[in-house]
C-alpha cells in the first residue's frame, strides 16, 4: 500500500526514526521496525480522522512517549548493568528491586518539577525575561520553518512527485545552462525515450470571450499527455487525447477550478460548452481539481493542446519538458539515454542542434529554484542565529540564578544528592522555562507566519499552504526541548561543581569561580558576534534592495506606465495591419493630456529575455550552433526617449524607419564593446533574424535581468530593431507621464478602446511595479532579514546588559572599598564601562571575522552590492559598540551609587 497520499507521512517517519535513537541500541534492534509500523498506522488513522489536528496531537503524545520511555529504558539498561549479579538468575529476575527503582525515579522527577516550579515562582522577573527571549527565538524559528518546510521539504502535490523531472537544453559553446526545449526535439524525446514519459507545455495567454467583454486569462498550450505524466486527472470531464494534439483537432480546452467558478458558477453541466479563446471556438472537455498548479506561476486558468502543424522549428526554444522517470529506471539510465538521443539529434540536425545536450533537474528544483533554496538556507541560518543569541542570554540568566543559589546547591550536595541528581534538577528547570518559551513561541509564530505570508508575493508557488500546522507545531516542540538542553546544560554542569567547603563556610563569598565568569563572558562575546553577523548580512541585503528600488537600472522607472496588448490574428492578419494599429496607438496616446510620449517594446526590461544568435559580416562564422548570442528587442520609435536611455552615438529610431527602408539596428555599449572596442560601430553591419542590418546608433547600457543570476553580472549586449522592420502581435506599450503614471491609466485605456473596442489591454503596471515584481525575491529577503536582525540586536543588548548588571552587583563590595579609599565616581564608572566595552569589542572582532567568511554566500541577493562593503562593516560595528556602551551604562551608574559603608557591612 502506498502512503504517499498522506501528507507529511514520509517526513514524519524520518523524524520518528531519528527520535527513536532515544532508546538504547538493543531495544532499537528488537522493536524499531514494529514501533515504526505502529506509528505509521496511528498516523494514517489520525490523518483520516482529524487531519492536522490529529497529527499535532499524535506528535505531542509521541514525543512524550519517546522522551519518557526512551529515557526510562536507557536508565533500566544502565541499572541492570550496574546491578548485574553473577549468582542466581531466578525465575522472574530482579522484579521487586527494579519496580521500586523506577517508582522512586518517577517520584523524584515529579519532585524535581515541583521544586523547579517553586524556584521559578521565586524569581519571576528573571524567568520572564528568559521566556520572552526564548519565545522570540523559538517563534521566529517556527515561522521561518513553516515557509521553508512548504518550499523545500514537502513533496510537490502530485502522486509519486519524486519521479518528476524537468528536461532542458544545455550548450556549453553558447553558454546555455538551462534553456527551454524546441517542439521537434521534445517530440523526438517523447517518442524515443524508454526511461521517461515526457510531456511539454508553454505559457500562452488568451482573450477569453464571455458575454459582453473580453477577459485576459493565463493559459498553457500542452502536449496531450501532460496530465497523465503528472498523474493528475481533471476533477470533471476528461484530459486530452493523442489526436487532439494535432492542428485542426486541437480546439478543446480544460479549465481551472477558479475559472469554472468565475464563469460557470461550478455548474456540473459545463462539459461541451463553447469557449472563445482569441476568437476561436474551443469545446470545454474538463475541469481541473481546485488546487492544481504546475510551474512557477500558480495562476493558470486554461489548458489547450499544442495544435501541431509539423512546421515547428527545431531552433525555437520555448517549451518546458516535464517528465516522469519510469519506476524501473534509475536517473543514471535516464541521463545515459538522453545523452544518446542528444548526440543522434546533433548528427541529424547539425545546423540547429550542434553541441546541444539535455540536462535534468528534479521538478521540485525547477520550481523552487536557486533563489528559493538560497533564500530558505539564508533565512534558516539567520533565524538559528537569533535562537542561539536567545539561548546565550538565557544561559547567562541561568548562571546568574544558579550562582545565587550556590550555597543551596552545595548544601544539597552535602546532604547526599549526587552530581547527576543536581544537574537533573537544574535541567528540569531549564526544560520548564524552554517549554514556557515554546508556548509563547507558538503565539509569536502565529504572528510571524502572518507577517511572512503578507510579504510574499501571491504568485510565489504554494504560499497559500504556509500555516501553523502539525509539522510546524512538532518542530516548535522539538526546538523548545532542544533549546532547554542547549541553554541549560552548561550552567547546570558549571554550578553543580561548587567547592563544597568554601561555599558552606560562614561568610563564603557567593558567586561563581573564575571559570563561571569566563563562561559568562564567552557567552556575551558569542552573542555580540552572532548579532554582528546578522546585522551585517541584513544591512547588505537591505542595501541591495534599496539599490534596486533606487532604480540603478539605467532606465526610467519613475513615471512610465506599461500595458500589454496582444493583437488577435483574425482582426490583424499581417504585419501591415499590425503596424497601422501600432502607429495609431502611438500617435493618439501621445496626444492625450498628461502624456509626454508613448512607445513600446516586445519585452519590457527585467520582464524576460530573447537570446538570439547573430553574425558580424567579415568576422569568421563559427558555424550554426556556435554563433554568439545577443538579447534582441523590437521597439517603437521614441522608446529610448520614454525610458530615458541616452543615445551616445548615432541616432535613435524615428519616422524615417519605414517598412521599405534600409534595415537598421541600434546596439548598446556592451555590444559595441564586444565587437568594436576601439572602433566606431556606426555603419557596421550585423546579420540577425535572416537579414543584414546596419548599425545606426549606440545607446547606454541597461540592466535587463533582475533574477539571481543576472543582477550581479555586467550589463549584457543588446540589439534593438524598429517595429517597422520586425512586427510582433504581442507588445508592451510604454507611456511616459508628466507626473504620477497611474493617473493616466484610465485615459489610455479608453483611448485604446476607441481605437479597437475588442482589443484587450492587460497587465497595466507602472515601470516601478514591473521592477518590484521582478525583484520580489530580494525584497522578501531584505524584509525578513531586517526583522531578524532587529530581534538579534535587541536580544544582544539585553544580553550585554544582563551580564554587566550582574557583574556590578557581584562587585558591590569591591566598589565600596574603592570608593571608601577615595576613588571618584568617574573612575568607578569608567572601570565598569571599560569592562563592558572590552566584551563588546571582542564580540565585534570575532563577528567581523565570521561575517567576512559568510557574506559571500549572500551575493545572489545583493545585486552588485559588495559583500565585503567596508561602510556596512564599519557602521554595524559602531552600532554594536554603542549598543554595548548603552547596555553597560545603567549598571555602571548603579555602581557609582554604592554606599561604601553599606557595601562593607553586607559582609
Amino acid at each position: 500500500m502506498s502512503h504517499s497520499h498522506i501528507r507529511g507521512l514520509p517526513f514524519s517517519e524520518r523524524v520518528y526514526r531519528l527520535l527513536f535513537l532515544f532508546f538504547p541500541a538493543e531495544f532499537r534492534r528488537a522493536h524499531a521496525t514494529d514501533a515504526q509500523e505502529l506509528f505509521r498506522d496511528r498516523y494514517r488513522e489520525e490523518f483520516r480522522r482529524r487531519r492536522s489536528v490529529g497529527i499535532a496531537v499524535l506528535w505531542l503524545r509521541t514525543l512524550r512517549d519517546l522522551l519518557q520511555h526512551g529515557f526510562l529504558e536507557r536508565l533500566d539498561a544502565l541499572l541492570s548493568r550496574i546491578r548485574r549479579t553473577p549468582v542466581g538468575g531466578g525465575d522472574p529476575p530482579d522484579v521487586p528491586v527494579q519496580k521500586a527503582t523506577i517508582g522512586d525515579f518517577m517520584e523524584s522527577i515529579a519532585s524535581d518539577i515541583r521544586y523547579a516550579l517553586r524556584t521559578i515562582r521565586r524569581s519571576p522577573g528573571v524567568v520572564l525575561i528568559a521566556v520572552i527571549s526564548l519565545g522570540i527565538g523559538i517563534g521566529a524559528n517556527a515561522a521561518i520553518f513553516s515557509a521553508v518546510d512548504v518550499f523545500m521539504f514537502r513533496p510537490l502535490p502530485y502522486p509519486d512527485a519524486e519521479q518528476l523531472v524537468d528536461v532542458h537544453v544545455r550548450n556549453d559553446e553558447r553558454g546555455w545552462t538551462q534553456v527551454s526545449q524546441s517542439i521537434p526535439d521534445f517530440l523526438d524525446i517523447r517518442a524515443d525515450s524508454k526511461t521517461l514519459e515526457a510531456a511539454g507545455s508553454y505559457g500562452s495567454s488568451f482573450n477569453l470571450a464571455t458575454r459582453d467583454r473580453p477577459e485576459r486569462v493565463r493559459g498553457e498550450r500542452v502536449s496531450w499527455n501532460l496530465f497523465q505524466v503528472l498523474r493528475t486527472q481533471p476533477a470533471l470531464g476528461r484530459s486530452f487525447t493523442p489526436e487532439e494534439e494535432q492542428d485542426g483537432n486541437h480546439r478543446v480546452a480544460i479549465v481551472s477550478d477558479g475559472l469554472w467558478n468565475r464563469h460557470f458558477g461550478h455548474s456540473p453541466d459545463v462539459l461541451g460548452e463553447t469557449l472563445f479563446l482569441d476568437g476561436e471556438a474551443y469545446t470545454l472537455v474538463g475541469v481541473m481539481p481546485p488546487k492544481f498548479w504546475l510551474g512557477q506561476n500558480a495562476r493558470i486558468d486554461v489548458w489547450v493542446p499544442f495544435g501541431l502543424t509539423g512546421e515547428e522549428q527545431r531552433g525555437s526554444h520555448f517549451i518546458s519538458v516535464t517528465s516522469r522517470i519510469r519506476p524501473e529506471y534509475t536517473i543514471e539510465e535516464v541521463r545515459a539515454e538522453l545523452g544518446q538521443i542528444a548526440s543522434r539529434l546533433q548528427t541529424t540536425y547539425p545546423e540547429s542542434n550542434a553541441n546541444n545536450y539535455f540536462g535534468l533537474v528534479t521538478l521540485h528544483e525547477e520550481i523552487f529554484n536557486t533563489e528559493f533554496r538560497m533564500g530558505s538556507a539564508i533565512a534558516s541560518v539567520a533565524v538559528a542565529f537569533v535562537l542561539l543569541i536567545a539561548c546565550a542570554n538565557v544561559a547567562n540568566l541561568m548562571l546568574t540564578r544558579a550562582a545565587g543559589r550556590e550555597r543551596e546547591i552545595a548544601l544539597r550536595g552535602a546532604l547526599g544528592a549526587g552530581r547527576i541528581r543536581i544537574v537533573r534538577q537544574l535541567l528540569t528547570e531549564s526544560m520548564l522555562i524552554a517549554l514556557l518559551g515554546g508556548a509563547l513561541g507558538v503565539g509569536v509564530a502565529v504572528l510571524g507566519i502572518k507577517g511572512l505570508v503578507s510579504v510574499m508575493p501571491a504568485a510565489f508557488p504554494r504560499v497559500s499552504e504556509i500555516a501553523l500546522d502539525g509539522r510546524v507545531l512538532m518542530y516548535t516542540a522539538f526546538v523548545s526541548l532542544f533549546t532547554g538542553v542547549l541553554f541549560g546544560i552548561a550552567p547546570a554542569l558549571q554550578s553543580s561543581r561548587p567547592n563544597l567547603t568554601s561555599s558552606l563556610k560562614e561568610g563564603g563569598r557567593s558567586g561563581p569561580g573564575a571559570k563561571g565568569v569566563r563562561l559568562r563572558k564567552a557567552l556575551v562575546v558569542a552573542e555580540v558576534s552572532l548579532a554582528l553577523v546578522l546585522l551585517v548580512s541584513s544591512t547588505l541585503l537591505v542595501k541591495g534592495f534599496v539599490g534596486l528600488r533606487g532604480g540603478d537600472f539605467g532606465f526610467n522607472t519613475a513615471n512610465v506606465l506599461t500595458m500589454h496588448i496582444d493583437l488577435p490574428t483574425s482582426a490583424y492578419p499581417d504585419d501591415d495591419a499590425e503596424r497601422r494599429l501600432y502607429d495609431d496607438l502611438r500617435f493618439r496616446i501621445s496626444a492625450l493630456p498628461g502624456v509626454e510620449a508613448a512607445a513600446g517594446t516586445n519585452i519590457l526590461p527585467l520582464d524576460g529575455g530573447s537570446s538570439t544568435s547573430y553574425l558580424i559580416p567579415g568576422e569568421e562564422d563559427p558555424g550554426e550552433g556556435r554563433r554568439p548570442t545577443v538579447q534582441a528587442r523590437i521597439v517603437f520609435p521614441g522608446y529610448f526617449d520614454v525610458m530615458d536611455i541616452d543615445v551616445t552615438r548615432g541616432r535613435a529610431f524615428d519616422e524615417t524607419d519605414r517598412p521599405d527602408s534600409r534595415r537598421v539596428a541600434v546596439i548598446n555599449e556592451a555590444m559595441a564593446e564586444r565587437h568594436w572596442p576601439s572602433d566606431d560601430p556606426i555603419g557596421k553591419q550585423i546579420e540577425i533574424w535572416d537579414e543584414t542590418r546596419t548599425i545606426v546608433g549606440v545607446v547606454e547600457g541597461t540592466r535587463n535581468f533582475a533574477t539571481w543570476d543576472g543582477g550581479s553580472q555586467p550589463i549584457r549586449p543588446m540589439v534593438f530593431f524598429p517595429n517597422a522592420h520586425e512586427s510582433r502581435q504581442f507588445m508592451s506599450l510604454t507611456i511616459k507621464a508628466g507626473g504620477d503614471p497611474t493617473t493616466i491609466a484610465n485615459a489610455v485605456r479608453s483611448e485604446v478602446a476607441r481605437i479597437d473596442p475588442n482589443l484587450p489591454v492587460f497587465e497595466v503596471r507602472t515601470m516601478q511595479e514591473v521592477v518590484d515584481i521582478n525583484t520580489q525575491g530580494a525584497t522578501v529577503m531584505a524584509k525578513i532579514m531586517a526583522v531578524l536582525a532587529g530581534a538579534a540586536l535587541i536580544l544582544a543588548i539585553v544580553g550585554v546588559y544582563g551580564v554587566m548588571a550582574y557583574s556590578v552587583s557581584q562587585r558591590t563590595q569591591e566598589m565600596g572599598i574603592r570608593m571608601a579609599l577615595g576613588a571618584g565616581r568617574r573612575t568607578v564608572m569608567g572601570m565598569v564601562v571599560r569592562q563592558g566595552m572590552t566584551l563588546a569589542l571582542l564580540g565585534v572582532a570575532v563577528g567581523v571575522a565570521v561575517a567576512l567568511a559568510v557574506t559571500r554566500s549572500l551575493s545572489v541577493f545583493l545585486y552588485g552590492v559588495n559583500p565585503f562593503d567596508p561602510v556596512t562593516f564599519a557602521g554595524v560595528s559602531v552600532v554594536l559598540l554603542l549598543a554595548g556602551v548603552t547596555a553597560t551604562y545603567l549598571p555602571a551608574r548603579r555602581a557609582t551609587k554604592v554606599d561604601p559603608l553599606e557595601a562593607l557591612r553586607s559582609e
Partner: protein, 126 residues
C-alpha cells in the same frame, strides 16, 4: 515445568500489574495480536481512555517477555491477510495465571468498595 511453590511466588512477585500491562495481557487472552491491533483493542475496551504509544507499548512487551508472561509468536498469519513484517505476540500459560491472579486481586478491591457502598453490586438485590 517450574516448581509449583516457586511458580506461585513468581506470580505474586509481579502483582500488582500496571494497568497497561494488565490490558495488554487481557487483550492477548483472545488470541495472538500485533502491536497496532493491541493498541486499538485496548483503546476500544477502555472507551478511548488508554491509548498506548509505541515506546510505551514495546517497553511493556519487553518487560512482560522478560518475565515470561508473554512471548513472540513464531507463526504468522497468511501473507495475504496481513503485513508479513509485523510481529505477533501471545500470552504464556504463566501469563494466564498472572492475569487471573491480578483479576482476583482486583475483585477483592471491588468487593471491599462494594461493602462500603461506594459502588453497587450488580448481583445484589436493589
Amino acid at each position: 515445568m517450574p516448581h509449583p511453590a516457586r511458580h506461585d511466588n513468581a506470580v505474586k512477585n509481579l502483582l500488582p500489574l500496571k494497568p497497561a500491562d494488565y490490558l495488554i495481557l487481557f487483550v492477548l487472552l483472545e488470541g495472538e495480536r500485533h502491536g497496532y491491533r493491541m493498541v486499538k483493542e485496548i483503546e476500544q475496551r477502555t472507551n478511548g481512555l488508554v491509548k498506548l504509544e509505541a515506546g510505551n507499548l514495546y517497553r511493556s512487551i519487553r518487560r512482560l517477555i522478560k518475565h515470561r508472561v508473554l512471548e513472540e509468536s513464531d507463526k504468522r498469519p497468511a501473507p495475504e491477510s496481513d503485513d508479513e513484517r509485523r510481529r505477533y505476540y501471545r500470552i504464556t500459560d504463566f501469563g494466564r495465571n498472572v492475569v487471573a491472579a491480578e483479576a482476583a486481586r482486583m475483585k477483592e478491591l471491588v468487593a471491599a468498595a462494594e461493602s462500603r457502598k461506594l459502588i453497587s453490586d450488580p448481583e445484589a438485590p436493589a
